[in-house]
């Protein structure tokens, strides 16, 4: 177990700059999720932690030791690859024991450690199979087993669940989480799925275009997104964002409508008004919304509606019996409205 410190790390492939100065401090035993859209540099950062890519600038230290020039095998990390990278010509047992075999461990030790990891992951019956003979979820577990056996200071996961079907993904998600609670090893987990990030992380690092947009606890990111990007990225369905201006104590969105402001809002100015779908409520005195589409999901009802010219999504816990074309009076919960500067996109 160890802390991981990433200080102003930069990466360029030739003249293409991929990471522009990324800094994250990870505490001992923390579960950190790097999340961001495709191509933002998450895998690159993870591979730099693992030592598979060299570091163009900045410093990475693991357990207080700067590892910029330390070989991957000496960094005491284990990585689970997106495609699992199991050795196809070795059985599950051999795959898991490979690192020990290379280190010259005696047979009994290998046997004991592999059995231990296999037990945690429920792989005891599969030890003699080859990777080809396993299902996706089992391969995923073997890849984790290979990492556990190493008993590393840090686990690195690169989108380990993206090849699994939705149901298995949910199951593995909680298995990984459980495993972490059990082993308490510092973990860095890459995903582009914000639900995975929200459910698993102690600390979420939202990245975009090689920069960190915001780092914080999941609910902190949900409650107080630092900018428009994080606001739109975290939360599902995504936050509604309307451009307009504040005048006379209310927000005026496109095509009119006077939207309530949160306490402490500026008196005037050009802003982006953000409200999450689930923070609308039905209110006879509210804004007049024209219902466009009603989508009941059972637990809630999602309604696509027009308020003025704004196209917004609302999600209501109660059943809404409106039909397309009806007028539905709704109002946003003022305390849960987010305001962002229209130029910079930063939270006000």
């Amino acid at each position: 177990m160890a802390t991981v410190d990433i200080r102003d790390v930069r990466k360029a492939f030739g003249s293409t700059k991929i990471l522009h100065g990324v800094s994250v401090g990870i505490e001992d035993g923390q579960f950190v999720v790097l999340v961001g859209p495709s191509g933002c540099g998450k895998s690159t950062l993870l591979r730099m932690l693992a030592g598979l890519e060299n570091i163009t600038g900045g410093e990475i230290s693991i357990g207080g030791r700067v590892v910029n020039n330390v070989a991957p095998k000496d960094r005491d990390i284990a990585m689970v690859f997106q495609n699992y990278a199991l050795y196809p010509h070795m059985t599950v047992f051999q795959n898991m024991a490979f690192s020990m075999k290379l280190a010259g461990a005696p047979k009994e030790v290998m046997e004991r450690e592999v059995q231990k990891a296999a037990k945690i992951l429920g792989l005891e019956q599969l030890l003699l199979r080859f990777p080809r003979q396993l299902s996706g979820g089992q391969r995923q577990r073997v890849a984790m087993g290979r990492a556990i056996v190493r008993n590393p200071q840090v686990f690195l996961f690169d989108e380990p669940l993206s090849n699994l079907d939705a149901k298995l993904r949910v199951q593995m998600r909680s298995e990984i989480r459980e495993l972490h609670q059990r082993l308490k090893v510092t973990t860095v987990y890459v995903t582009h799925d914000q639900i995975e990030a929200m459910t698993m992380a102690d600390l979420i690092v939202v990245m975009n275009h090689g920069r960190i947009e915001q780092a914080g606890a999941p609910l902190e990111l949900y409650d107080r997104p630092a900018n428009v990007f994080v606001a739109g990225f975290i939360g599902s369905p995504a936050m509604n964002m309307l451009e307009g201006r504040i005048e006379g104590g209310a927000f005026h969105g496109p095509g009119g409508g006077a939207w309530p402001l949160p306490p402490g809002a500026p008196a005037s100015g050009e802003v982006i008004y953000g409200i999450r779908p689930e923070h609308f409520r039905l209110d006879p005195d509210g804004l007049k919304a024209t219902v466009h589409v009603v989508e009941p999901t059972g637990s809630e009802t999602q309604v696509v509606m027009h308020i003025g010219e704004a196209h917004v999504l609302g999600a209501f816990r109660e059943r809404v019996s409106a039909r397309a074309g009806d007028i539905l009076p709704v109002s946003p919960d003022p305390a849960l409205v987010h305001l962002f500067d229209r130029q910079s996109g930063q939270r006000i």
Binding site: A50, P72, N83, A85, Y87, P88, S99, L102, F130, Q133
Partner: protein, 318 residues
């Protein structure tokens, strides 16, 4: 037209002629489709092979149809030192050349698999020995192995001063044998190197990364990842290479014609020499037929070595 007539209307079944039915009959179709391939095989492969085997049991000479003599040709060969010499050199030539080709070819493939500058040009250069017609390269080897003008002798004698006299490459039996093997290795490397390079490129880089994290040194990565993953393709390439080398005729015939004094005769050249210039078709055929057991052995080797390894098998359950 009544309503019921419309209700009961059915699409009329198409009447099929006898010919159409015949062509719809699967066994017939299979037969028709196989016919060209089988015909070609019979005419161009089975017939010559059968004729060769038949000839080996006769005393046919050029210009005279032969009599059936049973195993006489083989009995004669069995007692002939030149034949055994050719068997020995065929096996020796094949074995040493194969080891050389695979050692150097694998080494080249591993080099070319790295990120090198001018990679594609290097690959093209590696292919050169293969593109040059054999006879042309044989002529080049005459120069290299010439008693007076050999570049190798020149380097050893005039430049490095490690020898006093020129080497008689093709005049002494063992010199000639090794010289031919060297020429064969030179010609065979491209095939091996390019095939193995193709095999190397199918190995996922993430396996190497995983091995790197698992703490494997470069040597261990080769031993535990590259080599086992390359083995299936290695076996195929090796089988082909052994067959090509064993039946190699052009290079040997063009460079030494089996000389000096039959010391570099391999079975193919000896068969040709006895059969065509010597006119003893039956005996030549018997020598050629004697190659069959060796080739069958090589093919069996491939069959078993190539038999899909367990880890390559699909999703079966044990």
């Amino acid at each position: 037209m009544s309503v019921t007539a419309i209700d009961t209307w059915a699409r009329p079944r198409q009447r099929q002629g006898a010919l159409a039915r015949l062509f719809d009959w699967k066994p017939f179709l299979v037969f028709i489709c196989l016919l060209p391939a089988v015909g070609l095989l019979l005419v161009f492969l089975t017939y010559p092979l059968g004729l060769g085997i038949w000839l080996s049991f006769t005393d046919t000479t050029i210009g005279r149809a032969g009599q059936w003599v049973g195993l006489e040709n083989f009995q004669y060969l069995f007692e002939e030192p030149i034949f055994w010499n050719a068997v020995f050199y065929s096996v020796f030539y094949t074995a040493v050349a194969t080891v050389g080709k695979f050692g150097l070819g694998l080494w080249l493939a591993l080099l070319l698999n790295n990120h090198l500058p001018f990679k594609s040009i290097l690959r093209a250069i590696v292919l050169l020995p293969w593109i040059v017609p054999t006879v042309l390269s044989a002529i080049a080897f005459w120069f290299i192995y010439d008693t007076q003008f050999s570049i190798i002798s020149y380097l050893l004698v005039e430049v490095l001063h490690v020898r006093e006299t020129n080497i008689n490459f093709l005049g002494e039996p063992w010199n000639a044998r090794w010289s031919l093997i060297a020429a064969n290795i030179w010609r065979g490397i491209p095939f091996v190197a390019i095939s193995l390079l193709a095999g190397l490129q199918t190995i996922s880089p993430s396996l190497y990364e995983a091995a790197l994290l698992d703490g494997a040194s470069p040597g261990q990565r080769f031993r535990y990842i590259t080599f086992p993953m390359l083995l299936p393709i290695l076996a195929i390439v090796m089988t082909f290479s052994i067959i090509f080398t064993f039946t190699d005729f052009q290079l040997v015939y063009a460079i030494t014609r089996g000389g000096p004094v039959n010391s570099t005769q391999i079975m193919a050249t000896l068969a040709f020499q006895r059969g065509i210039p010597g006119g003893q078709l039956g005996e030549g055929a018997a020598i050629a037929v004697s190659m069959i057991p060796f080739l069958v052995f090589a093919t069996l080797f491939s069959y078993f070595a190539l038999a899909r390894r367990k880890w390559q098998q699909g999703e079966s359950n044990d």
